[in-house]
């Protein structure tokens, strides 16, 4: 079942985020802001840009290595998820057939270039998002959002969602197994039984919410979820942001990659 692996993947991603490395210790706000800037910069490149995108791989690679995130796991996640961009992008080579370049006699259409650009943007944006969560625990991201001004109500229920995601998914998994166990390969995956299962899961969820609410009340809950400040912006965070902005700015506005290529060409 593919969803099983998806489930375990998020479990793994979640565990990764509780490591303790330099990147993990950075303030979540700094990482959220940096990620958004990064995404924005990458997306702001025009359709046919490929070369100028290359330096931006430095950021995920650094996070990956300094944050000690397993490379293969990340690559697999990036490849597996969200085929939508690729699916839509693949039409470009088909539809945009103007010749953009002839390399050793092989004509390269503009569509391929824009498709390559989409693929690179895809890899960059997806890995940035995954790395954000892998190096910043989900609660960390939530607290960052809260302190960046997102409504308390939204953030609290995001935290609840996260907390019970695993509980409920495991519950669903057990129910599915129970059904499987007594189905004996008859295709009992019809909508009818499934809808029942979902219905039962729903009822249990509502009951659970009630019990959670009681538990909260019993510990003095009065409508607001209080939290301790868990992090302070440190010098390293500011430094990180500054470097990040310089890095993004430099590679966005100056054709550094080409310069490097030119210098290299001159050297030979």
């Amino acid at each position: 079942m593919t969803f099983d692996t998806l489930y375990f993947d998020i479990g793994r991603l979640d565990r990764l985020s509780y490591r303790d490395t330099f990147v993990h210790r950075l303030d979540p706000r700094a990482k959220v802001i940096a990620t958004m800037l990064f995404l924005f910069t990458v997306i702001s490149f025009p359709k046919y840009e490929v070369i100028a995108l290359t330096p931006f791989f430095l950021y995920p690679v650094l996070l990956l290595t300094v944050g000690e995130i397993p490379v293969r796991f990340m690559i697999r996640k990036i490849i597996v998820v969200s085929p939508f961009a690729v699916f839509i992008g693949i039409f470009n080579p088909i539809l945009d057939t103007r010749t953009a370049a002839v390399i050793f006699g092989v004509a390269l259409s503009a569509g391929w270039i824009s498709f390559l650009s989409i693929l690179m943007k895809f890899a960059l944006t997806i890995s940035a998002a995954l790395l954000l969560i892998a190096t910043t625990s989900f609660p960390g991201v939530c607290h960052a959002l809260r302190r960046l001004g997102f409504p308390a109500l939204f953030v609290s229920q995001l935290l609840f969602l996260y907390r019970y995601l695993f509980v409920l998914m495991e519950e669903a998994m057990r129910v599915i197994r129970a059904r499987e166990m007594r189905s004996f390969g008859t295709r009992n995956t019809g909508i009818k039984v499934s809808v029942r299962l979902i219905g039962i899961l729903f009822l249990r969820t509502v009951d659970r919410a009630e019990r959670i609410y009681y538990a909260m009340l019993s510990r003095g809950f009065q409508g607001d979820i209080p939290t301790l400040k868990r992090s302070h912006i440190a010098l390293s965070d500011l430094l990180f942001l500054a470097v990040m902005i310089a890095y993004l700015g430099a590679f966005r506005f100056f054709p550094i990659t080409e310069e490097i290529g030119r210098v290299a060409l001159e050297l030979f």
Binding site: Y18, R208, L228, K229
Partner: protein, 245 residues
């Protein structure tokens, strides 16, 4: 210290679907007592415990904690005094990390940061779980969750502690440390459980619930050794009293 008193006065409770779960419950627990609540499945133990800080309000009758009867107005006050540990720790650990969860109560009580941190440290230390504090509860084992759930209630330093089946799903060693922990808790406590051996170890007094009412109330050692009576109430002798042939 009258604020450690728990009194049920002729409490009736009907669930909205019509089930009569409590039918005239009467008892009084004074300061420092530890009381076991036992009874068959569906006897009304959990229902009774949920009356202790006003989740459920009696259909008729009164629940008095300290000097206050529980009403819609007083229950917020009363919740600061009574700590309840539920049957399923997953329902109780609702914050995303262990630390946040244990800190939730003290923060709501309006304590400052240093005090909160101190409270959390102390409560987690009590259940030997200090090293779990940055973990998210969903990556804990069942037994660890139970321990943290207890810590999260202990952090509020309640005057009265109520627990519903605290020992289920614990392995024998963890169960034993729970018993030790409960013995060191010096205020009033009420423990509902099917584990009569645990009740016998922790509680001097025992209340037997049957069909929504108190059918016996007295010293644990006495009640829990009355075989005939226990069997009438879907119970049996604690296992450590049962002679194995």
């Amino acid at each position: 210290m009258s604020h450690h008193i728990v009194e049920f006065k002729d409490v009736f409770f009907r669930y909205p679907d019509g089930t009569e779960a409590l039918k005239g419950v009467n008892f009084r627990i004074t300061h420092g007592e530890s009381v076991g609540v036992v009874g068959a499945n569906g006897a009304g133990k959990s229902t009774l415990l949920q009356h202790m800080n006003g989740y459920l309000m009696p259909t008729s009758g009164k629940v008095i904690i300290g000097d206050l009867a529980i009403t819609g107005k007083t229950r917020r006050e009363i919740r600061k005094k009574v700590g309840i540990v539920f049957q399923n720790p997953d329902d109780q650990l609702f914050m995303p990390t262990v630390f946040d969860d244990v800190a939730f109560g003290p923060l709501n009580l309006g304590m400052d940061e240093a005090t909160v941190r101190e409270r959390v440290r102390k409560a987690l230390g009590m259940v030997n779980s200090l090293d779990l504090q940055d973990k998210p509860p969903h990556h804990l084992s069942c037994g660890q969750k139970s321990a943290v759930a207890i810590a999260s209630v202990m952090a509020m330093e309640p005057d009265i502690l109520a627990m519903d089946e605290p020992g289920a799903n614990l392995d024998p060693r963890s169960r034993r440390s729970l018993i030790m922990l409960l013995k060191t808790f010096k205020h009033s406590k009420i423990i509902a459980s099917h584990d009569l051996d645990l009740i016998l170890d922790v509680c001097e007094r025992c209340i037997v619930i049957g069909g929504g009412a108190v059918v016996a109330d007295g010293p644990s050692a006495e009640i829990l050794s009355n075989k005939g009576f226990l069997e009438e109430n879907n119970l049996e002798l604690p296992l450590s009293f049962q002679v194995r042939s």
